[in-house]
């Protein structure tokens, strides 16, 4: 069951997705209508239910708005254009991916190296206390903390960067794959 806010958010998202330019007008209209239903004693969920759900409204609006959903012919044309120009964009895309992979790889190496060095000096500093002396151990402990801090920083950069790349890939894939309306 969906409440009013969820309904409006979903509807707006779908309207934007299908390029309905005056989506705000629809949101305004349905928001007012649902508020009126609720004001007259319906629950938020029942009001959404009586309107019939996001998909039904969406189909209604799309059929009324004459929204352009890419036709098969256009799509074919686009695919042909895309493959004909592959020699141009192919190497660029490949280069970008290689650069991204190289960055990810170097981040992994940096994170691992700093972490390992940090842990090693960290553990070593406890041995130094007994073998050499407190101040020397303190020096090594400080250095180990610097290394560990750098290790965590690089590890976080690695995760942030690879997450961003993943999301970019996903949105690119979504953009270029076909979409349909599930009623």
């Amino acid at each position: 069951m969906m409440d009013k806010t969820g309904f409006l958010i979903d509807l707006e998202k779908d309207l934007k997705k299908y390029g309905v330019s005056n989506s705000d007008d629809y949101i305004e209209y349905y928001s007012e209508y649902l508020d009126d239903l609720i004001e007259n004693g319906m629950s938020s969920e029942a009001a959404v239910n009586s309107v019939g759900g996001v998909k039904k409204i969406l189909l209604n609006i799309l059929s009324d708005e004459k929204v352009k959903i890419p036709k098969v012919k256009n799509r074919l044309q686009r695919i042909i254009l895309l493959s004909a120009s592959f020699p141009i964009w192919g190497p660029i895309v490949a280069a970008l991916y290689i650069i991204a992979l190289a960055i990810v790889f170097s981040l992994i190496i940096c994170a691992l190296a700093f972490m390992a060095a940090g842990l090693w000096t960290f553990l070593g500093s406890f041995i130094v206390i007994f073998k050499i002396g407190f101040t020397y151990a303190l020096l090594q402990f400080g250095i180990s903390l610097i290394l560990l801090g750098l290790g965590i920083l690089f590890e976080q950069f690695l995760i942030g960067f690879s997450g961003a790349i993943y999301n970019l890939n996903r949105s690119l894939f979504k953009k270029f794959s076909s979409r349909g309306i599930e009623a």
Binding site: Y29, E32, Y33, D36, D64
Partner: protein, 105 residues
């Protein structure tokens, strides 16, 4: 009711509802409910069409801490209702013809 017939009547029904008093989406649907069934998704395109034609105007006002859009009929809208009423004679003749009674051409 036949969908095509209903489609033609809806605009006029909404106009004459607004001729009695200004109104808003929910109230229009409710007031017309005993007469003719309109769903909220059919109402909006009609209102938009009537607004584009200039047959009605709209005004947003605050109601219970939220905005509500009230619609008012214009002279163009009133003229449209009158035209429909004046055409009724012809509709009645068609009705008689369909029923097969006293058709006098």
């Amino acid at each position: 009711m036949n969908a095509q017939l209903k489609k033609g009547l809806l605009d006029i029904c909404i106009l004459s509802e607004l001729e009695r008093k200004e109104s808003y989406g929910y109230a229009i649907i409710n007031d017309l409910a005993p007469l003719i069934e309109i769903s909220e998704s059919t109402l909006y395109p009609i209102l938009k069409r009537l607004l584009a034609k200039g047959a009605i105007t709209s005004q947003s006002r605050i109601h219970n801490n939220r905005v509500r859009k009230y619609y008012q009929i214009t002279d163009i809208g009133k003229a449209e209702v009158n035209t429909f009423i004046n055409e009724w004679g012809q509709v009645e003749r068609i009705f008689q013809f369909i029923k097969g009674e006293n058709y006098d051409g």
